[in-house]
Symmetry: C2
Subunit: 331 residues, 2 copies
Amino acid sequence: MPVTLKDIARRAGVTSATVSMVINNKPNISEATRKKVLKIAHDLNYYPNSIARGLATSRSGAIGVIVPNLASSFVVRVLQGIKSTNRDLNYMMLLFDTLGKKESEAQLFQRLSRERRIDGAILISSTVTDAELAVFGKEMVPSIVVARKCPALNCVYVNNEAGATDATEYLIGKGHRAIACVASVKRGLPIGERIAGYRRALARKGIPFREDLVFRTTDDGLADGASVFQRILHGPVMPTAVFVPAGDIVAIGIMKEARKKGIGIPSQLAVVGFDDIPAAEMVEPSLTTVRQPKLEMGDYAINMIIDKIEGRAAGFRQQELPTKFIVRESA
Amino acid sequence: MPVTLKDIARRAGVTSATVSMVINNKPNISEATRKKVLKIAHDLNYYPNSIARGLATSRSGAIGVIVPNLASSFVVRVLQGIKSTNRDLNYMMLLFDTLGKKESEAQLFQRLSRERRIDGAILISSTVTDAELAVFGKEMVPSIVVARKCPALNCVYVNNEAGATDATEYLIGKGHRAIACVASVKRGLPIGERIAGYRRALARKGIPFREDLVFRTTDDGLADGASVFQRILHGPVMPTAVFVPAGDIVAIGIMKEARKKGIGIPSQLAVVGFDDIPAAEMVEPSLTTVRQPKLEMGDYAINMIIDKIEGRAAGFRQQELPTKFIVRESA
DNA sequence: TTGTAGGCGTTATCAT
DNA sequence: ATGATAACGCCTACAA
């Protein structure tokens, strides 16, 4: 039988209302009763029932974090950023992986909100359409989208175009002229912006853009990298470098396949990825890549959502963060 | 203003008790009122307030998942196993990363349980002592420990000794005789069992165990692998193979450092890891390793904990799962 | 088959 | 500074 406010009240000779005020550090309590109540609470090993509290305050104390796929190390890294903040002491994280679920992200969010399970939500690299995202603005609980810029919704994202420009300019600076670009058509990825960055760098240096140096993959796994390398190999021009906005895993797939064909990296083919996943540092040669500030995005998201929940922030905010170019061995 | 049972009741001309029974699919409701109530609920876009429901039923509908470190791909993979089951539809996952938190896993579990935030808990590769683990058995809500065998507590774990034996015997079968063993002294890892498996394999084949071929690392990162390789290199005997119970990341660190020194893998040094993390497949050469059935452990844990919560399972269970030896290129 | 009434443990609004 | 009392929204005997 768990200890309740009443139990404490009885022993202390006060009412549960008083005890509640003590527990919640409300003012206007005599030092005497405060001390007494606190001691009894401690002696009885009292823990407040969060559900009852939630019913009275209409807050759950939880923040929903909705991710498309836990297998993604990008997502996991953002998750780390979310929990690593020291602000989240009073909120717990309710995690949802929508992969393979029939409920859409928007439906899930709506349900969580209406069922009063969450006080706020963070959406990581959501794959839903802008139209569906509109739902999020309409709910009672605040939300923020990570790794994607979207109109009229709170979000935190990186400047993909600038990141891609950095990478491409680096390659150009190394003397490369035939630079392939490997993009994924997977939904939700800001591929358009990255290709724009690639083109901008070329334009700046007066290098003509060649459509036949842009390759598409349907997904972003190792195998996709291997197969795209085959296409590169049999394309009209053999590039001396390849920039892979599709992500580090695809880039690693390309490197593996290239080496299998006896092509030296970076001597014959320089490779630059996007994301900076943990494996980027482990592979041989280690992967030069465009780092996304994943921890920072998570940190910003959780802080922002808590500010919203607690009424410290109003309006909507869009936060852009810079990428960082990480030079390793592959380029 | 959210829709409540009362709102529906009013419109339907019944009481909220009746509506509640309909919503919860209780028997003894006339088809007519059931239909009517359901229709109104749908029209009004009703969602039950989970907090109020929780207060009445004293269930939160959440399962706590406590992990020591989200950065571990092992942990993340188990997490995937937990969510991938199709049984968890009615439970949400409350995630806690204890890294850097002042509250111990045991304290956290106790608090969550007493505050009635969770109906059950899953502990992944906990680093707490057996003594502390005793707390878990005493709480009202059921718990299960993943990736660790512990007395008198529900758990699911792998046969580490057999896995290590497989790996070592494989190396012996390839003709290796001087086989180093790299173990981590990090808490919580079942290193003792793995070393025992290594020794057993040696013993079976009549190869003398050499203490000076066993190397310890304090942690399990890439850098630890690099530094341990230096020690191997300067040790009394240069092994032709190394088995790394400390995990794949350390194994990869060793490979990187070895190649840097111009040592061919596997030609001059065969390397076998433990875990089978995603990067194992990406590195060059790809890593031969002992796979732990991470998804299966997660799946077993969630199913087991739900069975416990819903009273379908009693007593305590210890489930052992087999490892699988994965041959790739590094050995 | 449905209504009545009480309770789950807190918080919050009044009084006092 | 503290006590009464009424929510919060739902569930569940028990009564009708």
